[in-house]
């Protein structure tokens, strides 16, 4: 059978640097194809070439066997190729309905057919079980709703090939399942689907065929059923992948370094109490929207909050980020693109922004800055073509490493990391887990906020669970398992957990 769309020995160069080396790939109708690889392996570029966003430097693109070059993405779209980006391609100030029909509005003469568009939008959203109102502003939607809207929008175009760049990164497990149902339906209708994901269990669950890329080359392509998740991971990384999670240190229950009581973050969290010990990694679990992020931001002075905070046994008042930083309390945001990094600035400017090396108090010490960057690149294994690369042009994993390096510049003693591995590949994940564990080993205390259950289970010494702005319980050591966390997160099993002192602080 002729593939619907195929790449034949395609290479791509940016300036003098070749980033794709002779990629061949076949996408067939009625087949779900997973493209996996580490960040920077060339997945995004491959997809952009497939969708007509970027031309290939050499090689052929064949649509149903015919060599073709898409001059624009629109030309590709007209042939039934639709791509959903990792960064949403939505007009934030417009409504859901306006976005759904952006650029192809239904009209009667010069007038818009508002009612009809609203009706069709509702139908499409219902198809993906998205409950967003058609007249809600996209700006006000949650990330997962935005993703579902993007998917609904693509589905409404009756795509013959749907390309999705990490569609599940911001979705909850439930939403992911809804998406997969849609994907299966599309497959049954004879569409081709290509997606990337760092979640190999998802790949295993839905993909018919998997193509693995490493360093701009295809290293494996074959039926998904023939590989285990572990084999996929090893092929991506290109080496034996020992255990993803580092060994836990000997349960070092050091002194309490951070004690929080009755922390209220208006509108998001209330009555938060916790204790954090020296050398400990504490996980915070909970559904998206359970107030985890807001509680931590409130604790670090990033948003208005009230409560009692003690660091090293001393009561402290934290009103703004500098209050927290001066006491060694540092927060790494979950949103590296809009809160973490200045995407238009160089790595150097980013890495030192939180703690600029100075001379004479007001001047920047440029030599020290360069040294900081050198060290960051070495310590965190940041892979960028050149030093002058803008942060926005780094791959997600390298951005995350840069962000971590930046946060470490202020020498935190208590580090709160929010979704430290969202949207990054398994190799980088492993590096970040090692790094966090090393920090704990050096006597720092770490709080990890995460939606990835496996991450919390594999990495943390103790996990607290939040639900609707409150802490519903915690699990420790050997008791940390998915079931216990989910029950707490769903508000089912408060009594089952072993109560600890912190529990006295809530309810």
């Amino acid at each position: 059978m002729t593939p619907f769309l195929a790449l034949d020995n395609v290479s791509k160069s940016f300036g003098p640097i070749e980033v794709l080396h002779g990629i061949s790939l076949q996408l067939r109708a009625g087949e779900v194809h997973a493209l996996i690889g580490e960040n920077g392996a060339g997945k995004s570029t491959t997809m952009k070439i497939l969708a007509g966003y970027q031309p290939a430097t050499s090689g052929a693109i064949r649509l149903e066997g015919q060599a073709i070059a898409f001059p624009t993405m629109r030309a590709a779209e007209e042939r039934g190729i639709v791509m959903i980006h990792q960064e949403f391609n939505l007009a934030e100030p417009l409504t859901v309905e306006q976005n759904m029909f952006l650029g192809r509005e239904l009209r009667r003469g010069p007038f818009l057919r508002r009612a009809e568009m609203a009706r069709q939008t509702r139908t499409q959203l219902d198809r993906v079980r998205c409950r967003a109102e058609t007249d809600a502003l996209v700006r006000d939607l949650s990330n997962s709703d935005k993703q579902m809207l993007e998917i609904a929008k693509a589905l409404s175009r009756e795509a013959k090939l749907l390309i999705m760049d990490e569609p599940t990164a911001v979705l909850t497990p439930n939403e992911t399942e809804i998406l997969f149902e849609q994907v299966r339906e599309l497959r049954a209708q004879g569409a081709a689907v290509l997606f990337t994901s760092h979640k190999l269990d998802e790949v295993k669950a839905i993909a018919d065929r998997v193509t693995i890329m490493r360093d701009g080359r295809v290293v494996h392509s074959g039926p998904a059923s023939e590989m285990t998740e572990h084999q996929m991971a090893e092929a991506m990384v290109g080496r034996e992948l020992s255990d993803l999670y580092p060994d836990r240190a000997v349960q070092a229950s050091g002194a309490v370094v951070l004690r929080v009581r009755d922390l209220d973050v208006p509108g998001h969290a209330s009555g938060i109490g916790l204790e954090l010990h020296k050398g400990e990694i504490l996980g915070i679990a909970g559904m998206v929207g359970s107030g985890r992020t807001e509680a931590m931001e409130g604790l670090c002075g990033l948003r208005p909050a009230k409560g009692h905070v003690e660091i090293d046994g001393q009561a402290v008042t934290i009103r703004r980020p500098s209050d927290a930083l001066s006491r060694g309390l540092c927060y790494l945001t979950e949103d590296r693109k809009t809160r973490g990094l200045l995407l238009g600035k160089s790595m150097r400017e980013n890495v030192t922004l939180q703690a600029i090396p100075r001379t004479a108090g007001v001047m920047i010490d440029r030599a020290a800055e360069e040294a900081v960057l050198d060290r960051a690149i070495a310590d965190f294994d940041i892979r960028a073509g050149a030093r002058s690369v803008k942060a926005g042009n780094l791959s997600g994993g390298n951005q995350q490493k840069l962000l971590l390096a930046k946060v470490m510049q202020s020498d935190p003693r208590i580090l709160i990391v929010d979704e430290p591995t969202r949207g990054i590949d398994i190799g980088t994940k492993q590096q970040i887990y090692r790094f966090l564990r090393d920090l704990a080993g050096q006597g720092l205390s770490v709080i990890v906020v995460s939606s990835e259950m496996q991450e919390l289970i594999g990495l943390c010494d103790r996990v607290m669970v939040m639900r609707e702005g409150r802490i519903t319980g915690q699990v420790t050591g050997q008791d940390i398992n998915e079931r216990a966390i989910v029950r707490l997160a769903m508000g089912l099993a408060e009594a089952e957990t072993s109560p600890r002192r912190e529990d006295a602080y809530h309810d």
Binding site: F14, I17, V19, G40, A41, G42, S44, T45, D215, G216, L302, R320, P321, S322, L325, Y331, T333, T338, R339, G340, L341, L342, L343, G344, K345, E349, L353, Q354, A355, I356, R358, V362, M363, I364, R366, D374, I377, D381, I382, R383, A384, G385, A386, R387, S388, V389, N393, L394, S395, N398, K406, S410
Partner: protein
């Protein structure tokens, strides 16, 4: 997309600077060449000195404006503010003349008045923008009207004039100088050097750029964005005061037409110089080039009969747009 190889610690190679850097410089050089071709007096000491001295007011203000715009702000009130401060200075100095007599104390009083008034005016703008959270455009548009009306009111619709004796004494601050370089030029250069150092080498400049690039990222990176923005407005107000100190001795008067359109000239100079209007990136040296381009166009038009005086504005407009086009790296808008 990035290369997958680990980042080489190599420093950037030496090549021709990019068009964003060359563009404004090139525009300035072309303008100078055209001027020199059209009129032999163009490059004379007197003409250069004239042009630089009168550029100094807008120039000093534009340096402050560079910081405000880089931090993502805007200030439309500077022209009116200058007029108001000039009027206030003249009133204060005239009022103090009988008790203090002609001499340095009166001048120092005037200077102090200008600096304090500028500082307060900038502070009011900044506080309304950062604390009350009102759009910079609205706050400074309002302030523009208020100061313009205030100076008209102070002058009773006419002109406020510095007492004649004082004018003679104060005059050298505009016309005098050291070794043939007039004071406005010296002050302008000093402000530019300080501004450039703080913008490109200072922690403050980095914070200003970060604030303009993304308020959120800056906030999450422990930059006190409200304070940074407030300081940019205060600095700008202070520099308006400095410019006024240079302006008043020139004609010894202030009226409702003083400082007319200075805000737009200052903003235009900043943008011509390569600072990004929506914030995040700014360079003081570029602003200086922008100021020079603007005043040289006017100078050349006055020195020649190339175009009808009615078309002066059109020529300026075309050159301003060209200067910005020159900066683009051959890429077209998406």
């Amino acid at each position: 997309m990035t290369d997958t190889a680990a980042t080489a610690p190599a420093r950037p190679s030496r090549r021709l600077p990019p068009m964003s850097v060359l563009g404004p410089v090139l525009a300035l050089i072309i303008l100078i060449a055209v001027g020199a071709m059209l009129n032999p007096n163009f490059l004379s000491y007197a003409n250069i000195s004239n042009v630089l001295s009168r550029s100094a007011f807008i120039g000093i203000i534009a340096v402050g404006m560079t910081f405000v715009i880089t931090a993502g702000g805007l200030d439309l009130s500077v022209g009116s503010m200058a007029a108001f401060i000039a009027g206030l200075m003249i009133l204060v100095m005239n009022a103090a003349l009988p008790s203090l007599g002609v001499g340095l104390p009166v001048i120092l009083l005037g200077i102090a008045t200008a600096l304090v008034a500028g500082l307060v005016a900038g502070l009011i703008n900044g506080l309304l923008i950062t604390r009350a959270g009102i759009e910079a455009f609205i706050v400074t548009l309002g302030a523009m009207g208020i100061y313009r009306s205030l100076v008209t009111w102070l002058a009773d619709g006419g002109t406020l004039s510095l007492a004649f004796e004082l004018r003679t004494f104060y005059r050298p601050v505009y016309y005098g100088g050291i070794m043939g370089v007039s004071w406005p030029i010296i002050v302008f250069i000093a402000v530019v050097i300080l501004g450039e150092i703080f913008m490109s080498r200072g922690v403050f400049g980095r914070h200003v750029a970060a604030t303009g690039a993304s308020l959120e990222v800056a906030h999450y990176s422990n930059v006190n964005t409200n304070r940074v923005r407030l300081i940019t407005y205060v600095v700008l107000g202070l520099l308006v005061g400095v410019a006024t100190i240079m302006y008043v001795p020139r004609l010894g008067s202030a009226s409702s037409t003083t400082g007319l359109l200075w805000e737009l000239e200052a903003i235009a100079a900043v943008i011509i110089g390569g600072t990004v209007l929506k914030g995040g990136f700014g360079r003081v040296w570029g602003t200086v080039i922008g100021v020079l381009i603007l005043s040289l166009i006017e100078n050349i038009l006055n020195l020649t009969d190339l175009v009808s005086p009615y078309l002066n504005g059109a020529v300026q407009g075309v050159i301003i747009i060209l200067a910005v086009i020159l900066q683009r790296e051959g890429k077209t808008g998406k």
